[in-house]
């Protein structure tokens, strides 16, 4: 964790966006209809109620109803449906 803290400070010092420096996912939400997740590490689980997406250090869980994966690209996932919650684990 110290290493990460270091990196964060460095990025703040050099004014480099965190997601680039720390390899963090960038999540864009369109209300509760769509979620774009950039910089992911693959899907771990997918059901209409839950989508778990692997990210650097952990996973991201989207819960909702009637979820579908609109498209999957090597570094981007688009989830569509009625999104209720997004949780980092």
């Amino acid at each position: 964790m110290a290493w990460r803290e270091w990196k964060k400070r460095l990025s703040e010092f050099l004014e480099i966006p965190n997601d680039v420096m720390l390899n963090l996912p960038r999540v864009v939400l369109m209300g509760n209809l769509q979620a774009f997740i950039e910089n992911h590490r693959g899907i771990l689980e997918y059901t209409p109620q839950i989508v778990r997406v692997g990210i650097e250090e952990g996973e991201l869980e989207i819960t909702g109803e009637k979820l579908i994966l609109r498209n999957i690209l090597p570094d981007e996932i688009c989830v569509e449906g009625m999104i209720k919650a997004i949780t980092f684990k």
């Binding site: 693959g42 579908i68 994966l69 498209n71 690209l73």
Partner: protein, 436 residues
């Protein structure tokens, strides 16, 4: 998004159902290898439905083996599949090509010729001139030379000042503009004669000699303004006679002949008769109507639009039949029959006397209105009910209308053949013998 879908349609894509322990693995691997997947939906515990481009199906097999999943193609969409299906049905493809070819071929002929703008020159004349240059019904369009037809129309029909020939699809429109020739003024001697009987109200002479004056009654055919202008009056005898007058007197002065012109207005009376029954029965339209379109092939009729049964009790039928134009002596046994059914109903109307009188009066006035010429001004009207001895269920009304109108009309004559009394008759007698 639309472009994306269009692209997918052109390239072609398949919907596959992935089955296996962990379809997510399959999807992950495909995604990391750069295979584009979209519209991923879970179908059940162990299956997913995925859309994928046609070109990516082959590498997917490898991935499926690696992730121990299986997939089955459930739906094929896109142009390549459409093309394949068409290639299997050669007759259909051939028919489509034939159809397009036929459409193109048939649309390259002139099927109708339309003439507009002519009022004096007959359409048949224009068409015959056009066919002389080669513009006929059924000719191929590529042989039509529009400027040549225009030139021919202008040279062969002198009353046409401009002609335009355009091709609009399979229709050729001939547009002409006719010359407006100045009206030739008739200068031959003529009288103005009465066309109907009346009481002269005013006489306005432009040229000629007034034969009637205000307040005269005239009969049809009577000369109102004479085209014979008598010589100016002789100087009175008590005036100091000049040496020339003596010689002039011996030579009778000749009257001059002119083309009489002027306005003669007279009061003219008209009578009209109208009647209205107290009890009226008859049939009238209810306003409801139904149109039925049938195609008739030989004796069989096929209803294209409209109901099978006519829902009216009483109705009138209007039938119009459209036939394809015959070619040579071949005619197609197909025709389009458009029938219009209009519902009628019986009615019985009871009027009271006042209303019937009003209606009869209206009809009587309408009957008069038909006799009145244009420009007539109604001065006075009077309605009289005609009463017959025994009472009847009919009201009869006579209308008497007085109008002020022009009654003069031109009446040519040949000088010298005039009855003598017309020359010598003093204007106040006003009752010239009619010259008809």
């Amino acid at each position: 998004m639309f472009l994306f879908r269009l692209m997918n349609f052109i390239i072609g894509y398949v919907t596959i159902t992935v089955r296996g322990e962990a379809p997510e693995k399959f999807i992950n691997m495909a995604a990391t290898r750069g295979i584009f997947l979209w519209d991923i939906a879970r179908r059940g515990e162990q299956s997913m439905r995925v859309n994928v481009r046609l070109s990516a199906v082959r590498p997917l097999r490898h991935i499926a083996r690696r992730t121990r999943c299986g997939f089955r193609i459930t739906r094929r969409t896109g142009l390549p599949f459409l093309w394949m299906r068409l290639a299997r049905r050669k007759a259909l493809a051939f028919g489509a090509v034939l159809f397009v070819l036929g459409l193109y071929l048939l649309s390259s002929f002139v099927w109708t010729i339309e003439v507009t703008g002519n009022s004096k020159v007959s359409t048949a004349d224009i068409l015959s001139v056009a066919s002389g240059v080669g513009l006929n019904r059924g000719m191929p369009k590529w042989r039509l030379d529009c400027p040549a037809v225009e030139r021919a129309l202008k040279t062969k029909l002198p009353t046409i000042s401009w002609a335009g020939v355009y091709v609009k699809g399979t229709r050729v429109a001939i547009e002409v503009v006719e010359k407006t020739l100045p009206e030739e003024k008739n200068q031959s001697p003529a009288h103005i004669a009465a066309i109907k009987a009346g009481l002269i109200k005013e006489v306005l002479v432009f040229s000629g000699h007034a034969a009637v004056k205000e307040g005269d009654t005239v009969v049809p055919g009577q000369v109102l303004i004479s085209g014979i202008v008598p010589p100016p009056e002789e100087p009175k005898a008590n005036e100091p006679p000049m040496s020339e007058t003596q010689t002039e007197k011996t030579v009778p002065r000749q009257p001059t002949y002119v083309h009489a012109a002027g306005i003669v207005r007279a009061r003219v009376w008209y009578e009209g008769y109208g009647e209205a029954p107290l009890v009226e029965t008859g049939q009238r339209f209810t306003g409801r109507e139904i149109t039925r379109v049938c195609m008739k092939i030989k004796a069989r009729e096929i209803i294209l639009a409209g109901p099978q049964k006519i829902p009216f009790l009483h109705y009138e039928t209007d039938v119009s039949v459209k036939k394809p134009p015959p070619w040579r002596n071949l005619r197609l046994p197909v025709e389009l029959v458009i029938s219009k059914y209009r519902e009628v109903e019986n009615y019985r109307l009871v009027r009271d006397r006042a209303e019937a009188r009003r209606l009869a009066g209206e009809r009587a006035l309408k009957a008069v209105q038909g006799q009145l010429p244009q420009g007539a001004r109604v001065v006075h009207k009077q309605l009289d009910e005609l009463v017959v001895k025994e009472p009847e269920s009919l009201v009869r009304v006579k209308a008497l209308v007085e109008s002020l109108e022009e009654i003069g009309t031109e009446q040519p004559f040949t000088p010298g053949q005039e009855p003598h009394n017309q020359l010598s008759a003093p204007p106040e007698t006003a009752s010239f013998p009619s010259r008809q």
